[in-house]
Amino acid sequence: MTTVQEHFDAIVVGAGPAGNAAAYTMAKAGLNVLQLERGEYPGSKNVQGAILYADALEKIIPDFREDAPLERHVIEQRVWMMDDTSHTGMHYRSEDFNEEKPNRYTIIRAQFDRWFSSKVREAGAIVLCETTVTELVKDTKGAVIGVLTDRQGGPLLADVVVLAEGVNGLIGQRAGLRDELKAGDVALAVKEMHFMPQEVVESRFNLSGDAGVVIEAMGTVTKGMTGTAFLYTNRESVSIGIGCMVGDLAKSGITPYALLDSFKQHPSIAPLIAGSEVKEYVGHLIPEGGYKAMPAIYGAGWVVAGDAAHLVNSVHREGSNLAMTSGRIAAETIVWLKRRREPCTAANLAEYRKRLEDSFVLKDMRKYQRIPALLHGNRQLLDLYPRMMSGIAQTWLRVDGKAKKAKEAEIFKTVRKQRGLAGLVADGLRFARAWR
């Protein structure tokens, strides 16, 4: 390999949304960039639901719609509170989402990441796959100056290392840049790809053209654990998955695949995937600890972006846009320093953190910083309430000769028994406080 002796302006570890955004932005600005990816091809180790947020990608590749592999643009969002036999739903569907430049798309990550990586190469970065970074190389003062890989040859050196290594960020962790993840801060999500003819997807979800539906679900489907489930429509497949906090799962004795199978068998879900062919089963961790679980994101000769920096908005189920945006902003900071001929010291790279604070990324992370603890300490929000909603709806909707006044009384009695008025008010207050 001729590049071994070369000194790069930047080395990017990982070829997911954060790494690709960073590598692309720096290469496009003329920097000499090396990107390392352990998978056989970019995307081969990457997992997501997956929804692509156009805004974050437009700020990097404005005309991405011309050739990016997109599945469906989302015109309908369903939020379902589920008990064992029912769901109470809030649906929003709008013709306005059938716009020239749609806002959200479903994607298939292995295909999308390959496309994104081809853009990184076109921009001039060297992308080296099948290369696992084993450790960071530091100088005598502790500044990061490069990486070691499992390939033959010496260290690969650079002015700065962008760690976009994903949720399992072993490299940064083992170099002492951040702590090991805690079981209470990460969720394990499992997902299957169910294939069916395009017409079947469209008729089941009342769709035409490239329009799509996404369902986010919570309730008894997670068996008392903190977690959520989802179903996203792709062109000729449906992505269906469920995730729970790892600490909850370990205590429960329930297997993730039994949890997924049980979700698939739910009467509200089963007809949507009936007759489909499963072509893949995947599992992945999601950093759900929020702002308070965030590690340091910069230091002497290094920055961290994306899942490795714990940048996931667990309330809005956003992550890939935070990854792309943090990768882009990290890269822009590095380019800015280069142009000013300033070194990538910790003091100078603090600018990355500052810029991220000014963006939606850290503003949103801060906004919801109390939510993870709230859910952790109040699992009834995800279990009792869906049951209660279902009970109320049934009492109200069944026409059975009972007077409406009696039905109202029955509903109030049930609510009082299941949670109590004080409990309701307390939950409401706790939620409002955590949300603001």
Binding site: K45, L181, A250, E280
Partner: protein, 97 residues
């Protein structure tokens, strides 16, 4: 339990792997009695890589591993699981992800 195991094997059968024969990327440290955390992996691992043997010890066969990292996180405090990424190009290969 056997029906569940059958199902997970069917699920994993759809996945692509390049197994690095003789070089498992995850190892369980030698132990007499597994901790509760280690034992929990028998159910928590999404690829069903962990099992309890006749001596009551936890074993791992990481061939179906999806490299999620759950076992490493669960056993971070006890240190019973030694976790590394597979060599570049080896391990799970997601077709869709």
């Amino acid at each position: 339990m056997s029906t569940l195991n059958t199902r997970i094997e069917e699920k994993l059968y759809q996945n692509r792997y390049v197994v690095d024969a003789g070089k498992p990327h995850i190892k369980v440290k030698e132990h007499d009695v597994p901790s509760e955390a280690l034992k929990s992996l028998v159910t928590t691992c999404p690829s069903n890589c962990y099992s309890l043997n006749e001596q009551g010890k936890v074993e791992i066969v990481p061939d179906g591993c999806m490299e999620c990292g759950t076992c490493r996180v669960v056993c971070a405090e006890t240190g019973e699981v030694e976790w590394n990424y597979p060599r570049g190009g080896y391990g799970v290969l997601f077709k869709f992800g």
